[in-house]
Amino acid sequence: MLAEIKNVSKTYETDSNKISVLDDINFSVEDNDFICIVGPSGCGKSTLLRIIVGLEKPTSGEVFFKGEVISSDNPKVAMVFQNFALFPWLTVQENIELVLESKKQGRELEKTACKYIKAVGLDGFEKVYPRELSGGMKQRVGFARALAVEPVLLCMDEPFSSLDALTSQNLKDELLMLWADANMPPDAVIMVTHNVEEAVYMSNRIIILSPRPGKVVADLKIELERPRNRKDPEFYRWVDKVYSLIV
């Protein structure tokens, strides 16, 4: 077992009231899991992901990574954000090298950055600033930066939802190619999305959350062969099934 989410609940307190956002979430993450967490907007998906990577503390419950309580500086876990979260004053290469600085130096740092720049097809864009990049290229930087730390667990929060429909299609397929490549990290992925087709297309397991406060209402294995075809009737049976479970 790679990670375990155990009895995780989260309540936000504001001056006037308390909002319960997550209610007793339990599941474990195994090697080779590609998990999509789906659920309606506001049900706590992003909150859950931030708790899983240790950026936020649960109100009660715990997240274990390889048996230890997760912390935000765990180098084996990386995150990809919806809005890319790139530093505008750094080039593509510098954005990627930045996350490596605590682990590697000099030639080795450069080599690692270069390897992941190539892996995501960003070669030729090394010296470019984010403002000059299309959304698709920005998110490739997001992927390269996350992969460069060679994480065991990769977490992604709606990584395709800021992209136009065609670019998003292209990036999903490229991400799946990287996932299929045994020489590439990570060992497992957790991806948050509100798009059911996307979840069925990408994942081998879908965890469905209820409206707020988010509870796990289903944990489904998606038994569809890869590469998947969105036009396949079998594909649509799965999509229908997931929709039927969403409240």
Binding site: K118, M137, A165, Q169, E174
Partner: protein, 157 residues
């Protein structure tokens, strides 16, 4: 001439969708699948055609052999295929020739814009410049340095 305002990622996304549909798909239906209007995907269709990845007849988009090669290839091999295709686009060839004539194989963005303006009829030449640089960077052919505002031949050329 007109030049399609579509990035390489959008064009490949379109090819992937046509491929899912069995290699031929009606343009309007494909737009519908993405919840887009037909005119929102037209630039990508034109781009796919210009790069030799698709043929279009009576609103039907059909993948070419090269498109199939592209889709079967890994991310790194895709770059090589894109490079060959982008290098063959007439206006990009001419742009390249323009700075092969210059001393340091680099030219000012202004001059590149001037050249493009003469060839593409538009009031928004900046966005075409962006698209062309998107294509040539993907192909590893022509880069752009936004500090010095110069375009240059990329290493390996």
């Amino acid at each position: 001439m007109i030049f399609p305002k579509a990035t390489i990622s959008e064009i490949i996304g379109l090819l992937e969708a046509v491929n899912d549909a069995g290699g031929v798909e009606d343009a309007a239906r494909l737009a519908g699948d993405f919840d887009l209007e037909l005119d929102e995907i037209l630039p990508s269709i034109d781009g796919a055609e210009l790069l030799g990845f698709a043929t279009v007849t009576d609103g039907n988009i059909e993948l070419t052999e090269d498109a199939r090669k592209l889709l079967d290839a890994g991310i790194r091999e895709r770059k090589k295929i894109i490079r060959d295709k982008v290098a063959g686009v007439e206006i990009i060839k001419e742009l390249k020739n323009k700075f092969m004539e210059s001393d340091e194989h680099r030219i000012k963005k202004e001059d590149a814009l001037g050249f493009l303006q003469k060839n593409i009829s538009t009031t928004d030449i900046e966005s075409y410049f962006k698209i062309i640089i998107n294509w040539t960077r993907h192909g590893g052919l022509i880069g752009y340095n936004s500090d010095s505002e110069e375009i240059y031949l990329m290493p390996g050329e």
